[in-house]
Point group: C2
């Protein structure tokens, strides 16, 4: 079954917000064997929306739209739907009651404007919305299924997961998709391709994609086949090849994250970690604690943004900063050591660098970052030179720090 | 001038990555008066890509594609381009030399696979890539302009800003767009609409959109007109109306961020801040320090994830945690006070809560967060009950904390 996703809103078309909904929807649909062929975004224009809906219904048998179901005047998706399907909007008392009840539970009186949201296309099926007042709309006609969901990510996600996916699964789908994600780190895309390409002949229906990110290069294997077992077997063979040629760079699979993998290693070894951050300002702690349950191995951290804090709280000797500077191997090591002592953790990670845009020198240009690691046995630091973008430098530094810990725990050189 | 953005890659169509490029491109294009009408995403399929290019060229006079210009086998954008425009790929020695030189500067020998990237469509104009080996491609034919850029965000952004935007500006554009963004916080979308809607009649060519986000609701005003002055005047009138009915919720305009606005307030008042974070694990510090130059007012922070750290480092009295729990108004106040003392800052912010997915109780469900603020004059805490999503709860808490500081500094009740 082919599908098209249509995301709606001037804020998307003008780039005011980044459309994250379509990626979420595509992942869920791909996982149940739906072939997402196109994604389209249109603004809050009735004409453009109608054209997009008509085209999508022409080229795909499943169309899922998001956005424009809110109560305000710029929410016109329903008007486009009734034009395309030549239907009327009908007032639904029971939907209004549900919206009113939601407001009452929150102790707020329903604003009158929400009345609009009880007007829904005639003959449509509705999907309840647990987190908001815009219900999902589903119209099946002439072998085509059209679904409209609200644009608020949390609401869209709930309706998609609880209602749309089970509904689509209940329809007959013939093609089987088997997807495997392998996550690598510490090697650039072109080098990885040079390890992988020789001797590799992709079987029919098998696709391999290289997806660079700040945490490393992800390898995405997709196999499409009429036979589920065959799809799985073809994927298995390719994974075996990849593991044989670049296994040491692979840290995880599927939804594994570097921070999650390292967290599990710490749990397995009954170890703990703490962090001392200068230029990343808390981002390393944030990433470590983004893992539910991280409180079992993450003890705490110090955001040592100023030199005074490095000296006073982390006990970095003042003469290290004087002699080598705060952005130095020596300072990174002393920060990690001081942090480990302060929190009495098995490991401590430290980050000190020049994130930019200012503060670079000839010796230490913007993007220079030292990452330190202290354990019971030793302390060391590694120098990285990233790029010129503040946000990217901070993000790369944070992943490099976690990777340094992974290699330490697994004793990978 | 109408434009369409086409983003390419199986990783986008399957939702493996979120397409951030199209939003960036749309912002840049909208800012110079280009009307982005559609955005389309296709996978690494020659047939689908050709269809998407042909359709885009039919409905818009400017088409910008990103992705699929890399060296590996899944990068087939150039093949689609030469099919659509019926041209050949030509080997460009000078482009290869430039790619080799880039590798040499990094101290790496060019992998052989990068040779592909010197094959470019006949008769195309090239845009140099400062950060990578894939050059931008531009074909002008029959009043249509087709541009292909690499998919790596940093590379796309550099070529777009340095080459494409000046090029597009050099063409004649008749319609003028005037956009104004107002950022509000502390009020939900429907309530905001009820303040704004009465007495509001939008003039011709004027659009107003409500864009809810975790930091608040953004108001986006777009005016399209044949006359630049008229567009500006219409926008000015609408902004004046918005300020008169909901001015106290507006914290900034255009690219203003809550963290940037508060940073500037601290600079203006010659004040400093420090943070004590439990459930946000460093995210508050990260957000505060995401502002370049934040070192002039951000002193540091403690990630007090465990109770021991709260007691030992932040000097939270153990009996407060025993009596009221670590997630309590009392604990948030004590954390902020301890933090302010530790860093000797003008203000200290603290966050303690239950981010989820586990740890909730009947009294304190997942999403319960206390935010504390200490100053020279007083210390207090505010309770929030967010939702069930860990990431969302942490993000909302961080913005609520910064907003609390903004209101404190500006003495807004």
């Amino acid at each position: 079954m082919d599908a098209e996703i249509v995301t709606i809103g001037d804020e998307i078309i003008t780039g005011h917000i980044t459309d994250t909904n379509s990626a979420y929807m595509a992942r869920q649909l791909t996982a149940i064997g739906v072939n997402v062929r196109y994604k389209t975004s249109v603004g809050d224009s009735l004409v453009d929306m109608e054209e997009a809906f008509r085209l999508a219904l022409k080229r795909s048998s499943l169309v899922i739209a998001t956005g424009g179901l809110g109560p305000t005047d710029d929410d016109i998706t329903k008007r486009a739907i009734v034009k395309v399907f030549k239907r009327n909007l009908i007032f639904h008392e029971e939907v209004l009651e549900e919206i009113k009840a939601r407001y009452t539970r929150r102790g707020i009186q329903m604003p009158g404007i929400n009345q609009n949201q009880a007007l829904l296309p005639q003959g449509a099926k509705f999907f309840p919305n647990k987190h908001g007042s815009a219900v999902g709309i589903c119209i099946a006609e002439q072998g085509r299924i059209f679904i409209a969901l609200p644009g608020v990510p949390r609401e869209m996600q709930q309706i998609l997961t609880d209602e749309v996916i089970p509904y689509v699964k209940s329809l007959k789908i013939n093609r089987h998709t088997h997807a495997v994600n392998l996550h690598t780190t510490g090697i650039i895309e072109a080098k990885l391709a040079e390890l992988i390409a020789p001797g590799l002949k992709l079987e029919a229906g098998v696709k391999l994609a290289y997806l660079p990110s700040y945490s490393g290069v992800h390898l995405r294997i997709i196999v499409i086949s009429d036979n589920a077992q065959e799809a799985e077997e073809k994927a298995r063979k390719l994974v075996a090849h990849l593991e044989s040629v670049c296994g040491k760079y692979i840290y995880g699979r599927h939804d594994d994250t570097l921070e999650g993998v390292v967290g599990q290693l710490l749990i397995d070894n009954d170890q703990t970690v703490s962090v001392a951050e200068s230029c990343t300002g808390g981002q390393l702690g944030m990433l470590v604690t983004s893992v539910p349950g991280s409180s079992s191995y993450f003890l705490g951290g110090v955001i040592a943004y100023s030199n005074d804090v490095k000296i006073d709280k982390l006990k970095v000797p003042a003469n290290i900063i004087k002699t080598h500077g705060a952005v130095s191997e020596e300072c990174a090591i002393a920060m990690a050591q001081g942090c480990r002592k302060m929190f009495e953790s098995s490991y401590a990670l430290s980050v000190t660098g020049i994130a930019g845009p200012d503060g670079g020198t000839e010796d230490k240009p913007v993007g220079t970052v030292f990452i330190g690691l202290a354990s019971a046995h030793a302390a060391r630091a590694k120098k990285f030179v990233f790029g010129s973008d503040r946000e990217v430098n901070r993000t790369r530094a944070v992943f490099a720090a976690i990777e340094m810990l992974r290699r330490e725990i697994l004793d990978i050189k």
